[in-house]
């Protein structure tokens, strides 16, 4: 190699970041060229000087301090899952009662307690049956969704339960509407 290698290549050479054939070329050149060898030595010294600046002493309790500020992954996932189930169940029950009340009125049963209760129980049972069916089919999808939501809970606080409630209400509404249609057809 008669030509001087580019300074950029000498810089990469001392970092051993050149392709092997090029690295050998530069190495052979440095053996015979004083100017480039000085350049390489100067860059190497610079690297050593940058690296030798004293490092910081790490406080003994550094790791403990970090660990105190983080929560185990499980500890927030389980309550989040439990909270989601409780929210969903409560919403379904409320939705079921409301739809049941609506049905009892449509059947002309007035607002007497017996009719409301019968309709409510019928509706709740239908809702639960539908829910179990849907849950079985979509279990794999739902479980991964809940996992993801549970992770966000730590960062988003109360926002996620609110979203869960909203979702459950919407689901309950649509289930209720379809059941209402079904009952109406049966009565007709």
């Amino acid at each position: 190699m008669k030509q001087h290698p580019a300074l950029l290549d000498i810089s990469s050479y001392i970092d051993k970041e050149l392709p092997s054939y090029r690295w050998r070329e530069v190495k052979l050149h440095l053996e015979v060229c004083d100017t480039c060898r000085k350049e390489a030595t100067s860059l190497r010294r610079l690297g050593e000087a940058v690296a030798e600046v004293p490092t910081l002493e790490i406080p003994v309790d550094f790791r403990k301090q970090v660990l105190r500020r983080v929560t185990p992954y499980h500890s927030y996932r389980k309550p989040a899952l439990a909270a989601s189930i409780v929210f969903a169940s409560l919403t379904l029950l409320t939705g079921g009662t409301l739809v049941g009340w609506g049905l009892s009125t449509e059947r002309g049963g007035g607002n007497d307690l017996g009719t409301i209760l019968t309709s409510s129980i019928e509706t709740i049972l239908s809702l639960l049956r539908s829910t179990i069916l849907v849950a079985r089919i979509g279990w794999s999808v739902c479980s991964s969704l809940v996992e993801s939501l549970a992770c966000i809970v730590t960062h988003q606080g109360a926002a996620i339960p609110a979203v869960l409630v909203l979702t459950a209400v919407v689901l309950a509404y649509f289930l209720g509407r379809s059941l209402q249609g079904y009952h109406r057809n049966r009565i007709a």
Binding site: S12, L43, A51, P54, P72
Partner: protein, 192 residues
């Protein structure tokens, strides 16, 4: 026995255990990487307290994002990426406003009111004159260059790792490291 098992676990195994709820496994990850991360934050900020605070925040950020960690990357690269972004964000926010010394001194005839050096900024470590000059020269580098030169020489990262950490093309890393060295050499002329 448990300690031995933890010490022998690979980074990936430790990550899996943390995600299963074993918070303490994270201590082993910190033990492995606290020194390079703290060295990095310290070299970037040149302030002991700030460097330690930033390093803590880096580990907390890393812990909270572990479920998004892609095992296709080395954990060290991923941690450096978090550290690098965090420190750069901090330094950009803290960038001092430039004040002309001449204007200030001439306007009211009084010496410029420079902020006093706080006690925590005075490190207990005593630097030799040479080391001080090197440190000052590194500090004067533009942030993007300082980050690369620190990762290369302090953390001994390869160009490829630096490219992954800083989300830069390999050629840019190579060029910037070269330019940073040229700047440092110009600053440290006659010292090395």
């Amino acid at each position: 026995m448990v300690e031995q098992r933890v010490a022998g676990d690979s980074d990936q195994k430790l990550v899996t255990r943390i995600l299963k709820g074993e918070k303490d496994a994270f201590e082993m990850i910190m033990e492995r990487y606290q020194r390079p991360i703290i060295n990095f934050t310290y070299r970037m900020t040149h302030d002991r307290e700030i460097a330690l605070d930033l390093a803590q925040e880096v580990f907390i950020k890393a812990y909270n994002s572990l479920n998004s960690y892609n095992s296709g990357y080395k954990l060290s690269t991923w941690l450096y990426k978090i550290a690098s972004n965090h420190v750069i964000d901090y330094l950009r926010k803290k960038e001092p406003r430039w004040v002309s010394i001449d204007t200030s001194a001439e306007e009211d005839g009084r010496p410029m009111d420079l902020p006093a050096i706080q006690e925590n900024q005075v490190d207990s470590l005593v630097f030799s004159e040479k080391l001080e000059k090197i440190q000052t020269a590194i500090k004067r580098l533009p942030l993007s260059y300082r980050r690369l030169i620190t990762l290369r020489h302090v953390n001994e990262c390869s160009y490829e790792e630096i490219a992954a950490i800083c989300s830069l093309p390999l050629g840019t890393v190579k060029n910037r490291i070269f330019r940073a060295r040229e700047m440092l050499r110009a600053e440290l002329d006659g010292i090395l």
